[in-house]
Symmetry: C2
Subunit: 240 residues, 2 copies
Amino acid sequence: MEIRRYKHDAAYSYTLGMALTIELISKKDSYLIRKIYVHPDYVPKDNKYNIFKICKEAQLPIEINQKIFNRLSTKENVYVIGIFDKHDRNVESGKSHVVLVNPSDSGNLGTILRTGLGFGFKDYVIIKPGVDIYDPKTIRSSMGAFFHVRFTYYDSFEQYRQEFLNHQMYLFMLDGKCNLKDMREMPQKKPFSLVFGNEGSGLPDIFHNYGDSIYIEHNHEIDSLNLSVAFGIAANAFSE
Amino acid sequence: MEIRRYKHDAAYSYTLGMALTIELISKKDSYLIRKIYVHPDYVPKDNKYNIFKICKEAQLPIEINQKIFNRLSTKENVYVIGIFDKHDRNVESGKSHVVLVNPSDSGNLGTILRTGLGFGFKDYVIIKPGVDIYDPKTIRSSMGAFFHVRFTYYDSFEQYRQEFLNHQMYLFMLDGKCNLKDMREMPQKKPFSLVFGNEGSGLPDIFHNYGDSIYIEHNHEIDSLNLSVAFGIAANAFSE
């Protein structure tokens, strides 16, 4: 089967670049890896970062192929691609979650996974419609964090909430009731869910009914913070 | 003179999109605006956001022109462009600064301006080599914050430091000596400078000599935080 540029309905996705592909290979027990492709111009950095050696040790099929790079990659500095089967790893009950309602930017989503993983969050819920977490752009901007997190898509926030009634919901809203700075001194009720809205429109007003709404204090010279920055500030405050 | 796609040595830069262009026009006392270009398919949103009305009131030249959009914009949803002369507004003494050493990503720089402005930082120092703050990509990702900040480029950090010896330097480094969380309780010595390194390589070791090095605590599942996220967490902690 010919590997084409990623589409949402594909059964596979891929890593663009050496570092990401090594991350994928380190998770080969969780993901079925179809093949590793190497660009003819690839030069191993050193013995440790030699993709041929790594693939041999991991017993993975490898192929030198220039055409696939023209098809899949728009960046010039990509010399290694790893193709893997999609495979859902659902969020766990009992763990605190990050919930993104209608996220629309793949780059932001990847940055959120990277940041969240660094602050101890491994469970991500996306309320539809939302960008595709398997998009190679998300995987790339996650810097490999994608391979270390769990995620589940839900059709509605209500559906998610019914399944996790025991979660304390913290809703990040521009007109939230509590200042995040004041939350630092308060005991956190676990498990909890940190809930964020769309990049442009935020969370609809109705979310005030679902739990404690929180705002990140900033002046009025800007309309709002970038979603991944706001998430970073929140995840840092709620990290252990 | 024909307006071409932005290059570093151009005497002008431009805003891509209606919201940014309105921000530019609101700053017409600080910037010489050459002309506002409107796409033939432009439709005013309402009477308040009618670019023809706004330009008339501001006494600015306006031109309907399709070709310039093909030349300057890669995005499809841009119907208004504002061309303005570059004009340096240097950082002020006595104010706290944000110092970026060798920043390499225009999008990150824009997000930093947006975030920083929201937390009260109006003065930005860039140590060369660094991306061009006038790049339309930076202006766009700043969401207009660009027009409300001051900035100066320096050839070296040493040169900057000599000029602002009264500044308390806070150096953000992966191997910093103080945890940012512990800094919150400490009195801040003003004016101060928040100093950040390059996206990939961070601040060189020598920066340990220049003041108090600080780290943002995260686990070892990630190598580092994204620069604009790290900056957001820091700026939030140091905001008034």
